[in-house]
């Protein structure tokens, strides 16, 4: 059996139809010397040799399970009950895609429906879709909804600098072909500063909750200001934080997006992750992605269907709300199982553990000479530490001497935040780990100085 269904006769007919002599003629636009570059590949390996090779490469990684991990900044080390993976690996569920003959797969549709329902409960929204690739693409889709809602008549999107820098970069990439202006995030604008930027050209204002620095900004009255300007309010949220803090729905958000990775999905070197997207019912026909609905079949029995299909590209073609129909079905299932197992109280307990452990760590570190933690605003599981040395140098010491993966170097994205480390503490960090981190930070400046001296001595 061949995997390529076209016969030579098929190819000949197709080439004739477009007036080309051979397949090679289709590649005329590519310079001849670039068409078949020398690949310089080593000889093939057996399966056993390949496993050795890949295991050798993998062992060069620093894995979350083997170290005390205090790195967050958008991806978080939370506990994953083992039942999550057991359900994911069942053959009935094991695909990343929503099925192409969806109604045949009632179990998959039911899982997606339950995922959507729990995301709505968590965010306080009316409707959630079956997911996007990750938090960043969900935010880019929120911008598309705002643009469609105003039919392109409002061109300004206000982004808080507290939105994850990678999300803001992805949003700009997504929208580089249209006339939208992204403003607000180049300096250190506060929420009131962002409110001052609202005008009748503003389509949407985007804040993060908590913000990228872990803080819970005071968003009281924000929705009213945004709505008084006729604009939409989008909130980028940490789903674990919603176990503890007021929901975006209560705060008046119109669209809620975020990264679903904390909900039962391992760090996995950056993916696959899960973009969640929830909104008010009045925007449902403008949103991308697939939506599963509950209905009854001809005999009155409960059944699940793909609903509101005319939004999607297979029907609407170039006028579809978005060209993204794919979701992260398997990751949405993981989140669904995680939320089911944790329940409302379990999620709150996990959030409380994060909160209390992070606050314990922050207080201990703030007491260290040379370090300070900005605790002027409420924060959740992350906080910013002003360090006496560059973050990269401190992280080297933490890893090499203490087996600790340190925090995120904020100067990478915020040049003004030199020597500032973003630390994340979750329920996975034990008190021992935190106390060791504090000791490690205490001695880090001396270790760095000795190291430099050592190098100097031998140069």
């Amino acid at each position: 059996m061949t995997y390529i269904p076209h016969t030579d006769a098929d190819r000949k007919a197709m080439l004739e139809a477009i007036g080309v002599d051979s397949l090679d003629d289709l590649f005329d636009a590519v310079p001849a010397d670039l068409r078949f570059p020398e690949l310089d590949l080593p000889p093939g390996l057996s399966e056993m040799e390949t496993a050795w090779e890949l295991n050798g490469l993998a062992s060069a990684n620093v894995a979350a399970n083997d170290f005390a991990l205090f790195l967050g900044a958008g991806a978080y080390n939370h506990f994953i009950p083992s039942v999550v993976n057991h359900i994911l690996l069942r053959g009935e569920f094991y695909t990343a895609y929503t099925p192409y003959q969806p109604e045949l797969s009632q179990g998959t549709l039911q899982a997606i429906f339950e995922y959507q329902s729990m995301m709505c409960a968590l965010t306080g929204m009316d409707v959630a879709n079956a997911s996007h690739y990750d938090g960043a693409t969900s935010l880019a889709e929120a911008v598309i909804v705002a643009n469609a809602h105003f039919r392109g008549k409002r061109s300004k999107i206000i982004l808080s600098p507290g939105v994850n820098p990678q999300y803001r970069a992805v949003v700009r990439t997504y929208h580089q072909g249209n006339d939208l202006k992204f403003v607000g995030d180049k300096g250190s604008a506060t929420v009131p500063d962002l409110v001052d930027m609202l005008d009748d050209d503003t389509a949407m204002l985007v804040v993060s909750y908590p913000n990228f620095f872990g803080q819970i900004d005071d968003l009281t009255g924000l929705a009213k200001s945004v709505h008084d300007a006729g604009a939409l309010l989008c909130m980028v949220v940490d789903p674990i934080a919603l176990g503890l803090f007021k929901s975006p729905g209560e705060l008046g958000a119109d669209i809620v997006v975020g990264e679903g990775q904390p909900l039962g999905i391992p760090l996995s070197f950056g993916g696959p992750y899960l973009g969640f997207f929830a909104t008010r019912e009045k925007f449902v026909r403008k949103i991308a992605g697939r939506i599963v609905g509950e209905t009854v079949d001809a005999d009155g029995r409960r059944a699940y269907v793909m609903t509101l299909r005319p939004r999607e590209q297979d029907i609407r073609r170039e006028k579809a709300t978005s060209n993204i129909c794919t979701n992260q079905g398997l990751m949405a299932l993981a989140a669904c199982v995680y939320m089911s197992v944790m329940g409302k109280h379990g999620l709150r307990r996990a959030a409380e553990l994060c909160y209390h452990k992070a606050h314990y760590a922050a207080q201990q570190i703030d007491a260290l000479e040379g370090y300070s933690v900005d605790m002027s605003q409420p924060f959740f599981k992350e906080f910013v530490v002003a360090c006496p040395e560059p973050v990269a140098a401190i992280n080297d010491v933490l890893l090499e001497h203490w087996g600790i993966i340190g925090g995120y170097d904020l100067s990478k994205d915020y040049p003004a935040r030199e020597n500032q480390m973003l630390l994340a503490v979750t329920e996975m960090n034990t008190k021992d780990e935190i106390d060791t981190l504090v000791e490690a930070l205490r001695s880090a400046p001396d270790d760095i100085a000795n190291h430099a001296h050592h190098h100097h001595h031998h140069s």
Partner: protein
């Protein structure tokens, strides 16, 4: 063969919109044939508001039925003076009364001469019948 209403006081496009002139304004909607082809209409996405201007051939709305999503085009140019907002909550009105309560927008014609290029009732009825053949 079905028998679709094609009132004589309307002009028609080949894309199944109708326009009925009343003084210096005209109402626009989808024909009986169009609603029958679409079957149950579940949503009207109106893409213009009062004060906007449309040119003949511009898409001004998308109509979703249980079978498809279809763009609706302006048969003539002019300023939008009214939009049938009742369709937001009861889009099925287009199925029940396409030439009456199911009207979609009302425009102030900028060039009444454009209407001469449209089909009359007899020509449009023939156009429908041909497609059924």
């Amino acid at each position: 063969m079905a028998d679709w209403k094609t009132p004589d006081n309307a002009k028609y496009t080949e894309n199944d919109e109708w326009i009925i002139v009343d003084g210096d304004t005209a109402k626009v909607g989808l024909t009986d044939y169009a609603q029958d082809q679409l079957s149950d209409i579940v949503f009207v996405d109106m893409q213009v508001e009062v004060g906007d201007t449309v040119s003949a051939g511009d898409s001004f709305a998308t109509v979703e039925s249980v079978k498809a999503a279809s763009d609706v085009y302006a048969p003539a140019s002019g300023e939008v003076v009214a939009v049938n907002s009742a369709l937001d909550d009861t889009p099925e009105t287009i199925n029940g009364d396409p030439f009456g309560a199911g009207w979609m927008i009302e425009i102030k014609l900028s060039d009444a001469g454009e209407l001469d290029g449209l089909l009359d009732a007899a020509a449009y009825a023939k156009h429908c019948a041909e497609r059924e053949g």
